[in-house]
């Protein structure tokens, strides 16, 4: 199974986002590097709006991710509620 990843800047905005991603993807591994966090996951990774909203206590638009996003891999599928990264193989 191939790995996908998402990398985010390390800051106050992303702390809860990272926490939410790790909660929703128990198979994911966070890899901390200077000023950034890279989250690797076998096969697929999902970023869920509702989990982030619960943690930050306000509405969150998934497109806000763009502000602190560093990089990602895999096919992207974005809806109002979820952003999914995956490989087909």
């Amino acid at each position: 199974m191939s790995k996908v990843f998402i990398a985010l800047q390390t800051n106050d905005d992303t702390r809860s986002i990272i926490q939410a991603i790790l909660a929703d993807n128990p198979h994911a591994i966070a890899n901390e590097q200077p000023a950034m966090v890279k989250i690797d996951a076998e096969g697929a990774l999902v970023v869920r709006r509702s989990t982030i909203e619960e943690l930050i206590g306000r509405d969150f638009d998934l497109q806000e991710l763009h502000i602190n996003l560093i990089s990602l891999t895999g096919h992207v599928d974005e809806t109002d509620d979820e952003l999914t990264l995956s490989w087909n193989t």
């Binding site: 990843f5 950034m36 996003l69 990602l72």
Partner: protein, 517 residues
């Protein structure tokens, strides 16, 4: 009083549909073929532009909103960094040479990318890719501007930042990144998208921005970290666009496969060659290192690229050509490049040096198969010579590869003691290449590459001296004349870091920042 009108909010997909597809139309006063004259000549067959899917579904209104937010964050940090004399908090002044290379060699490519995406976007008959290219074109000019702004702060204090635009079109080593982008920009719109959108953005830019920018942070350079990550925050969108382009083209017609495969082979190799500079920056120019070039290559190319090409196999795409050589090269190219710049430090707008003992040990440990055997003894020899007052400056000009324009510094696959040479006779001339990859790329489009502006040839032809200079005059010094033409100040911008003005100033200013005298 405002009346509350309840209307159903559009979902992301519907909104995107209205704000992109809804904006396009079929032209009638002029035929679509005349309005989009470059859409067909490359041989790519598109039957239905509506099949284009933009996974991020970003519309222009949301685009402006998020980009504005990124700019506010960026400039707050840049200002704070400058106000606080942030340049004195970098690990040591050698580091600053890495960002000289960045400003001179990479930022101008951002501007070229801006032009390229504006051009490609204009030429696609489909609305989806046009909107995506427009956004990327705006992103790229933002990258160029924010990099120039951030680095202009260093120009106030250090040498070598002063004329990147003038130098880009003249200085020998800058023809490498420049010709790479010129090659892409002068291709058709589909090839440009595969070259830059896919091969460069998707397969290779992680290597440039992620470990290197994280390394800038690690070395105390908040300015570079900030513009780097701000640029990179657009990159996820660019990569997604690059991948979408490939999928879209391949799904449209089976005849597109061989054309796309040839582009992937060519552009992965071209981009890989340019990244030699980044490998050298990571292994030699960051005083505090986070990962070696080889490690970064393994994570971002072998692992991610491997997953990508496994996925694309369902379209019949195979991994790029010459991977076996690339696989061996990762132990060597950063060392070969640093040795070259060390040699040619008299003709460079940044400084080079011999790594400290700690750094040599780090390299030995990161490169157990190659460093002690091939590269460390040479560096130690040069260090000994420098101690005796014979700092080695190479005064002869190197032979360049006709395709990538890098001096012939790379070694034979399988034999790191033998320089790799390839040649082709074409019409009445002989052309030289650094590798099978560069040779084959030339053979596919010789009429394009015979026009290459090779800095060494140009110097020998007398085209790199200022007007009025007489190369036949008594005591003519060709190096001095070329440096004048480059606008490079001898003794300030070039030569070894040891003894440089940058080194002395940094020491003095840092002293002033920590003491009262």
């Amino acid at each position: 009083m405002d009346m509350k009108v309840s209307k159903k909010k559009l979902g992301l997909k519907e909104k995107y549909q209205h704000m992109t597809r809804g904006l396009g139309w079929e032209t009638t006063y002029q035929s679509m073929d005349e309005v989009f004259p470059y859409a067909k000549y490359e041989g790519i067959k598109i039957h239905d532009w509506d099949k284009w899917e933009d996974p991020f579904r970003l519309t222009m209104d949301a685009y402006w909103k998020y980009q504005a937010e990124k700019e506010r964050k960026l400039y707050a940090i840049i200002d704070a960094y400058a106000q606080n004399n942030g340049h004195l908090s970098v690990t040591d002044a050698r580091y600053i040479n890495a960002i000289k290379l960045f400003l001179n060699g990479i930022s101008p490519l951002e501007y070229m990318a801006h032009r390229g995406f504006a051009h490609a976007g204009r030429q696609f008959p489909g609305v989806g890719p046009r909107v995506a290219c427009l956004m990327q074109s705006l992103d790229e000019i933002r990258h160029a501007q924010t990099q120039i702004h951030s680095l202009s702060n260093y120009n106030k204090y250090y040498n070598g930042f002063h004329e990147y635009r003038h130098m880009l079109e003249r200085v020998w080593y800058l023809s490498v990144p420049r010709s790479f982008f010129d090659d892409a920009y002068t291709a058709g719109p589909f090839e440009f998208m595969v070259a830059i959108g896919f091969s460069f953005e998707y397969v290779l830019t992680n290597l440039l921005f992620v470990p290197f920018v994280s390394g800038a942070a690690y070395n105390g350079d908040m300015g570079t970290m900030t513009f780097g990550f701000s640029a990179q925050s657009d990159e996820a969108r660019h990569m997604t666009l690059g991948l979408e382009v490939i999928k879209f083209i391949l799904e449209q017609d089976p005849d597109n496969l061989p054309i796309v495969q040839q582009w992937i082979d060519k552009w992965t190799w071209r981009g890989y060659r340019v990244l030699t500079l980044v490998g050298m920056m990571m292994d030699y120019m960051l005083p505090k290192r986070i990962m070696s070039w080889k490690e970064a290559w393994e994570v971002y190319f072998e692992e991610n690229g491997g997953a990508l090409f496994k996925d694309l196999a369902r379209y019949g795409i195979r991994p790029p050509k010459w991977l076996d050589q690339i696989e061996q090269d990762k132990d060597h190219i950063s060392h070969q490049a640093w040795a070259t710049f060390y040699n040619y430090a008299a003709a460079c707008n940044f400084h080079t040096w011999i790594p400290t003992d700690d750094e040599l040990d780090w390299l030995s440990q990161k490169y157990p198969n190659s460093f002690d055997k091939y590269y460390r003894p040479r560096l130690e020899h040069w260090r000994e010579e420098a101690k005796k007052g014979n700092r080695f400056y190479n005064k002869t000009l190197p032979m360049l590869c006709q395709t990538c324009q890098i001096p012939m510094i790379f070694t034979e696959p399988g034999d790191p003691t033998q320089i790799c040479y390839r040649e082709v006779d074409y019409k009445d001339n002989k052309y030289h290449f650094c590798s099978d990859g560069c040779k084959e790329i030339f053979e596919h489009e010789p009429e394009k590459y015979i026009q290459a502006w090779l800095p060494v040839h140009q110097i020998y032809q007398g085209n790199c001296f200022n007007e009025g200079v007489d190369p036949t005059a008594e005591g003519f010094d060709p190096l001095a004349a070329v440096l004048d033409y480059y606008h490079l100040n001898f003794g300030r911008d070039n030569l070894d870091f040891d003894g440089s003005e940058d080194q002395k100033n940094f020491e003095a200013w840092r002293g002033m920042a920590t003491k009262n005298t």
